[in-house]
């Protein structure tokens, strides 16, 4: 289970962040509260992704070839999710 968690962790964080943004935009439609809430949500997601990145980078140095492969995949997943999370938050943060 730990292997899957690390492998898919980045993408799960991206999904959770997206759904949270959709949630606040729907619960507080047309208000600035939604825009303000996006910032802490994004910071939490970024922090989680940096944590996952560090874990996966450590795994990339494993002596086992499959662990290294999964570590690389997890790192790529977390990195692309980091970009996606920031990209996702821009519409709210830029206002």
């Amino acid at each position: 289970m730990r292997a899957w968690t690390l492998l898919l962790g980045g993408l799960v964080v991206w999904t959770a962040h997206f759904l949270a943004l959709y949630g606040v935009a729907s619960i507080f439609p047309g208000t600035t509260i939604a825009n303000w809430l996006v910032l802490p949500l994004t910071l939490v997601a970024v922090a989680a992704l940096i944590f996952l990145l560090r874990r996966s980078v450590v795994q990339m140095a494993s002596r086992d070839s499959l662990d290294r492969w999964m570590g690389r995949l997890a790192t790529l997943g977390a990195a692309i999710s980091l970009l996606a999370v920031v990209w996702q938050a821009i519409p709210a943060l830029a206002r």
């Binding site: 991206w14 959709y22 086992d64 070839s65 499959l66 790529l76 519409p91």
Partner: protein, 845 residues
Amino acid sequence: MKSETGFDPALFDRFPTKEERPPGEIEELERVWRAPRGWGLLTAVNNNYIGTFYVGAAFMFFVLAGFLALVMRVQLALPLQGVLPQETYNQFFTMHGTLMMFLFAVPMMEALGVLLLPQMLAARDLPFPRLSAYAFWAYFIGGTCFFMSLFFGLAPDGGWFMYPPLTSTTYSPGINADFWLLGIGFIEISAIAGAIEILVGVLKTRAPGMTLARMPIFAWAMLVFAAMILIAFPAVILATLLLELERALNWPFFDATRGGDPMLWQHLFWFFGHPEVYIIFLPAAGLVSMMVSALSRVTLVGYQLVVLALLATGFISFGVWAHHMFTTGMPTLSISFFSAASMAVSVPAGIQVFSWIATLAAGKPRHNTPTLFLVGGIVTFVIGGLTGVMVAMVPFDWQVHDTHFIVAHLHYVLIGGSVFPVFAGLYYWTPMMSRRPLSERLGKWVFWLMFAGMQITFLPMHLTGFMGMPRRVYTYLPGMGLEPTNMISTVGALTFGVGVALFIYDLARNFRFAVEGTAGNVYGGGTLEWLPNGLYAARSIPVVRSREPLWDDPNLGDDVEQGRYFLPGTPTGQRETIITSPIRAEPQYLQIMPGPSVWPLLGALFTAGFFLLLTIQAYTPAVISGILAIPSIMRWLWETDRPVAKQEVDVGGGIRLKTYATGPSTHGWWAMIMLLIVAFMVFLMLVFGFLFVFGVHPEYWIDFNASGPALPIAAVYTAGGALVLLGRHLLQREGSTLWSPTTQVLLGCLALAGAWILDFALWQDAGIDPEASAQGALIMAFLSLEGFLVGVAVLMGAYLALRTSRNMIERPRSVTFDVTMLFLVYTAAQGAASTLLTRLFPGGL
């Protein structure tokens, strides 16, 4: 090397074995795996047969849907044509979209999965062959009856997305819409059955040594595809059920005048509908990645990035559903998020496209039919992808929404991203199951006709859309400048049709189904499906040491054929395959597999009968059919979960595996967990609907003062779940009697039924009226959903009792007991959660 299960990977070095195999082993394998003949073929469950039936049926629906498209194009060739009356045109475009999406695209991918995956993974078959058979027959019977509705003027006519209020009884009073709602709901159940089969198959039946890093890319694609089905399809199943309940019982989920909201339908539908596009695209992308490598005679460039792209698409695709709703007046900020996600999803698609181009550039692609279809598909898909980024921009989408521009865009994506890859695949893999390959000469004609037809049809259609022609109108006035592009599109469509007709001719001329003596590896693929095969798949199951084992070990085919790897015979004398661990594919145990049976066919027939008879309001026959489906399915299951006399057997190389296992690492447990994920998603979507409707129309909600019994009812549900867990605990104790564990389960069922009856009765006392408001309707929907689960739980309890009475429950652990326990505990948890939610929100909080 590390181990995942305690298995010593050094044992793989024993293979290929050196000693001669005993005589008669192959004959025994052939006897065990022999398929029925004649009419008995209807009872076949081997993936070779079911997979071929499945591909054939999906292709048949493609041809039928394509024919409808041609008639529509003839109608639109000139203004004010009279080929199709308005009402029939509505039925045609609805059936065209529905058939293509629900009866061709998704089933074709599942079909290819059933056909190719066991061979690609070197498994004897997928883990639940009877489930595959059930899924196929349910789909085929349901789909055929659904299509036949067209001949009686009863075909649905509300578009493939069936938006209410157009599809409410006010505007669609006949049973046409019901055909769609019940038919599609049913067919999606079949798709979910197939997805569970594929998911467990990829994770648990791979050849030893085939780690995640060595998995064929098609298996990765099918893994993501099947997982997406489990998450996405419950939304459409729930949506169709709610709309059918609204139509049949006047429960106003989508009626804004009674606190419902038609936007709820759009959210539920598109939560399914957009991932559906990727559900169709990803397996096709997997096919392309496999073929582009084999046909270029070089390994896939960026394998790991392609895996990442598949996974990322799977996740991001669930964040784009509302881009179909940009014009509905959603909050601007929400729209911005969906717009950003819609642009982001093009990144993983781009990664795959660049990988394919790089692979083609790095290798030496040959000029043959599958390569032509691959290149044509990539070009077409890229054009569709670019217009997709255009419509992800909200202001642009507002301009072209519901015009022919969108029709052009979606056809570029779906034909380029799915149809052309499937045709490439049909040419590439036909030699695996036919005595002769398809004709290269005819194939090139087929490609050029289809490719040219596609571009001639849909490129001008962008202009038709820009000029303002809306979708789903059966004609247009002369003098609006729409004639030239429409005429060109019709000529293109007919050209495409000629290409498909030529393909059918090629099939009729050259396709000769065979399991042995096939044309073989014509295109020089490097993956395991090209090993010498019989009905038992490969003679022995190889140890996989690379991604293209046939390229890296030229002797592999011979060694496999000589039985020098795993499972060279049938040590238990029954159908069997090796179950391996999900990450490192280490052998865990031997799965005994069921053989041919008429019961999956009968189960599918009666289940389909239930839904279809319900549609035409033949209630008594529908109930009889539904009742007959239950013993049919139970009878099919009755023959499973039967341990064999030998508890451990030698599976080759002196390695011994157990012949019976249950618990969290086994395939049965995994399948049940996946089924429960589906149930949970249905529940989650209903919770979303509940909160959504409250958020939109809180003024319609009244306080029923119903929070008092919430905790007691939840406690009874919890007690039911606890009793079931106690039963499992007793089963593991040697001192317990034959009946004591099952008795706990039956008491648990009683508690679940009691809790549900109490909940229902107290809501009745509180004066709830599901026809009066969406609030009442949603509460009744929660009760109905839970009631259904409790009903199934009671049936499972009865089945367990029946097996106990025949002393057919293994001790200390039993698969039947475990899966029953999982289902019942979930039912208890969902019952408690839905009681607390409906009784405490919003008044009790």
